[in-house]
């Protein structure tokens, strides 16, 4: 059967066909759809885990028990899961264990552009790199077999363009796999220093075996052109760009030779040498880090890579064509108009808007933010968040900010309070440990948990506070307030507030601001884009009373895309969900909410 599928759909399909038993992940662009598609297969026990470390540990346990297991994450997720990742390379795999890392060259939706191929090198974990959806399906199927054959977890490295591009795929059927037998084996699986050292020697042996395999496997192959002048070594989506750049030119088609790499750790030294022996000029076409290029150069083979291609951002056929053939872009159309930027913004009706507006009134606070929609609270006109590092840092970097600003001279201190901002899913992911630290070490920062009842930014996945599993089954909803109290925050210092009620939010912030010890505000309203929320609020909207409006434009300071001014204030009705934050900040009561919610 032929289908057109994204790389993410194909990975899920391939895992299903391979008889995968367990699939686990924490959502993160561009990887999220892998588990969303896994959930469609009844045979796979799939779940959203609390974070990537938990996910990989669950997959590791399943592998140890003899099941085929897959864990998927975005590139920075592997940083969170790095601890089990490194040590599982020592323990190896009983049931096939596949770790998918979805990297984001070009930073379409990430806080950094790290190239996770180095993780394979660093952890001595073999790596497969597909370049389209068919390879996603085929390689992931094989990855389970290879993981069992070589007794090692496999890193499966994809990038945004592979994950989110649709290409044609031939589908197969599922082959059921019984669990592999489980035998207790502490010398292999209890990583005491002595046991780990024993495994460490075995890993070096394994490296040699894997290197031999890499030199002689179907994933790494040469496509000879009619000439030996130019040779291109490439992997992943970069290979597709290179082929496009060259083969789409009639005068070049068929002339260039390619070494296509799909098994990219260990890299195939002999195969690269045999390619280089024939070729006059070698180019390494790869995005971001010179991962292959450095290896080729270590073999003593001259090649061009970073000299002619950029290290930053995605590649594309045009860049490759210019680098290799010196062909510049032809003249194109260019309008003498500078288009206004269109960065992402908090949606109309977003439950994060009110608390950010209320925080913007404090001029002597510093706010540490976190990863999620609410990162956008850093943007004008709200402009509240001062720093964003990674998931969880909204809490913990806030502790550090508070420690540092406590050293200001008492008279004339510019910063009087530190606020941290974190989302519900992110708090479960890695905010809890920071909060316990704040409690135990007597931080006086204030933490705002912006609870919108879903993992919103990545496309509305379930999280531990929601009461639903990945497959939509009812489960326990972990109570944020009780959790904060259990972390040691005094019950009177945990304040719940309605994210749509400015008075409630302002009062909570006042108390948080003046508190001398850790204080938590849990501001709750579900994400305005949740289907049920959209339906129930579909009859609600705000409108301007022209007779009262004095055109002071204070309502525009909340940064709602539904509000505009062209001679008078207008609120676009189809966009508005009647959250009424604008109505509450209007000093003249010139905005009124109309309609009722539908239950």
């Amino acid at each position: 059967m032929r289908r057109i599928m994204t790389g993410n759909e194909a990975i899920a399909r391939g895992a299903w066909e391979a008889g995968c038993h367990v699939a686990v992940a924490y959502p993160g662009t561009p990887s999220s759809e892998i588990l969303e598609n896994m959930a469609l297969y009844d045979e796979i026990d799939s779940e959203w885990s609390t974070n990537e470390k938990v996910a990989l540990e669950i997959a590791s346990g399943a592998s140890i028990a003899g099941a085929r297991a897959l864990s998927a994450m975005k590139h920075v997720g592997l940083n969170v899961a790095a601890d089990p990742f490194f040590t599982m390379s020592y323990i190896g795999a009983n049931g096939g264990l596949v770790v998918v890392t979805a990297d984001d060259p070009g930073l379409f939706s990430s806080q950094n552009e790290q190239d996770n191929r180095w993780y394979a090198f660093h952890a001595k974990t073999p790596m497969l790199e597909p370049s389209d959806s068919q390879e996603c399906l085929d390689f992931v199927k094989d990855a389970f077999d290879l993981s069992e054959r070589f007794d090692v977890p496999f890193l499966f490295r994809v990038t945004t363009r592979v994950c989110h591009s649709k290409t044609i795929v031939d589908l197969g059927e599922r082959v059921e796999r019984p669990l592999r037998s489980y035998e207790r084996d502490p010398a292999r699986r209890v990583m005491t220093p002595a046991a780990a050292k024993g495994r460490r020697y075995l890993m070096e042996e394994r490296e040699k075996t894997l290197s031999d395999f890499s030199n002689d496997c179907k994933y790494n192959y040469i496509e000879w052109g009619s000439e030996r002048e130019i040779g291109i070594i490439s992997s992943g989506i970069s290979y597709q760009y290179a082929r496009e750049a060259i083969e789409s030119l009639p005068q070049m088609a068929g002339r260039v030779s390619y070494l296509k790499l799909g098994f990219t750790y260990p890299l195939p030294d002999e195969l690269i040498r045999s390619f280089a022996d024939e070729i006059m000029r070698i180019y390494v076409v790869e995005e971001n880090e010179p991962y292959i290029e450095n290896f080729v150069k270590q073999l003593g083979i001259p090649c061009l890579g970073r000299d002619v291609l950029p290290a930053v951002d995605e590649l594309g056929p045009g860049l490759v064509r210019r680098a290799i053939l010196g062909i510049e872009l032809p003249e194109g159309y260019s309008a003498d108009i500078s288009p206004p930027p269109r960065p992402p913004v908090l949606c109309p009706g977003c439950s994060h808007r009110g608390i950010f507006y209320a925080m913007s009134k404090y001029k002597d606070i510093v706010v540490s933010g976190d990863i999620g929609c609410y990162t956008l609270g850093a943007m004008p006109p709200l402009g509240v968040i001062d720093s964003v590092i990674c998931m969880g840092a909204g809490v913990s970097s806030g502790i550090g900010l508070a420690k540092a600003f406590a050293k200001q001279p008492k008279d004339g201190a510019k910063v009087k309070k530190i606020f941290g901002v974190i989302g519900d899913s992110t708090f479960f992911h890695s905010g809890i440990t920071g909060l316990i630290d704040a409690v135990v070490n007597k931080s006086d920062m204030a933490l705002c948990i912006l609870d919108n009842r879903v993992t919103a930014m990545t496309g509305h996945q379930q999280n531990p506070g929601v009461g639903l599993t990945l497959k939509g089954e009812k489960t326990v909803a972990v109570d944020l307030r009780e959790l904060c109290v259990a972390c040691g925050v005094r019950p009177e210092n945990v304040r719940t507030a309605d994210s749509y009620d400015m008075k409630d939010l302002e009062a909570a912030l006042r108390d948080a601001y003046s508190a001398k010890e850790i204080f938590v505000i849990i501001a709750t309203q579900p994400c305005a884009l949740i289907k049920d929320v959209m339906r129930s609020r579909s009859g609600m909207y705000c409108e301007v009373d022209e007779n009262r409006c004095v055109k002071c434009k204070i309502c525009m300071k909340v940064g709602c895309p539904a509000i505009s001014f062209s001679g008078s204030i207008e609120i676009e009705r189809p966009m508005c969900n009647g959250c009424a934050i604008c109505a509450q900040v209007c000093p003249k009561d010139a905005i009124v909410r109309v309609g009722e919610s539908i239950d």
Partner: protein
């Protein structure tokens, strides 16, 4: 059996604003191209785009397609669901290519707050630059048909005409992809788009 009249190939770039339905339009498009035996690759960038950001979808088809991404100056047709987005992506058009532009304005927050200005007379200036500009009032056509959301399918109709892909059974593709209760509206939107340019 699929009958191939000639080797078709093309690069279609759809650009718009999160929520305008570019992705559904490109899904219908790639499905139709797949049915007539083309190799098809489609690439979309989403993620943060749900929050009102720019959205782009590349659709490439031909005998065999490698890159899922269209190079600058290589789009045979640029379908802009919003006027400013046409300007933003204009450099991707092949000289002599076709520009389908929705006569529709979505002002970014920077414009709403007065930090930037929405450029005036975009359509006139585009007409002055690009020989083949087809302006479609997709939002109004869709509204007249009963639902503004069908503007994406109106534009799809205009695109199909612009790329001379009318011989594919698009109604059947729509039937497969669009929910049944929305089918009639979308079929009419598609036809209106086809005859609009």
């Amino acid at each position: 059996m699929t009958e191939m009249k000639a080797v078709r190939s093309g690069n279609i770039l759809l650009v718009g604003v999160g929520g305008q339905g570019t992705i559904l339009a490109s899904k219908v498009l790639s499905e139709g191209l797949l049915r007539v035996g083309c190799d098809v690759k489609m690439s979309e960038i989403h993620g943060m785009s749900q929050r009102g950001g720019s959205v782009t979808t590349h659709v490439r088809f031909g005998g065999s397609v490698y890159s899922p991404v269209i190079c600058e100056r290589e789009a045979d047709i640029l379908v802009a669901f919003e006027k400013v987005e046409a300007v933003r992506w204009l450099s991707y058009m092949r000289p002599g290519g076709t520009l389908v532009v929705n006569d529709h304005e979505i002002r970014p927050l920077s414009v709403l707050t007065g930090a930037a200005v929405y450029p005036g007379d975009i359509l006139e200036r585009l007409r002055g630059l690009v020989p083949d500009v087809r302006v479609v009032n997709a939002a109004r056509i869709a509204s007249d048909l009963g639902n503004v959301k069908a503007q994406n399918i109106v534009l799809l109709g205009a695109l199909v005409r612009g790329m001379k892909l009318d011989d594919i059974d698009w109604r059947d593709v729509l039937k497969e992809i669009i929910p049944q209760r929305m089918y009639d509206l979308n079929a009419r939107a598609f036809e209106a788009g086809q005859s609009s340019s």
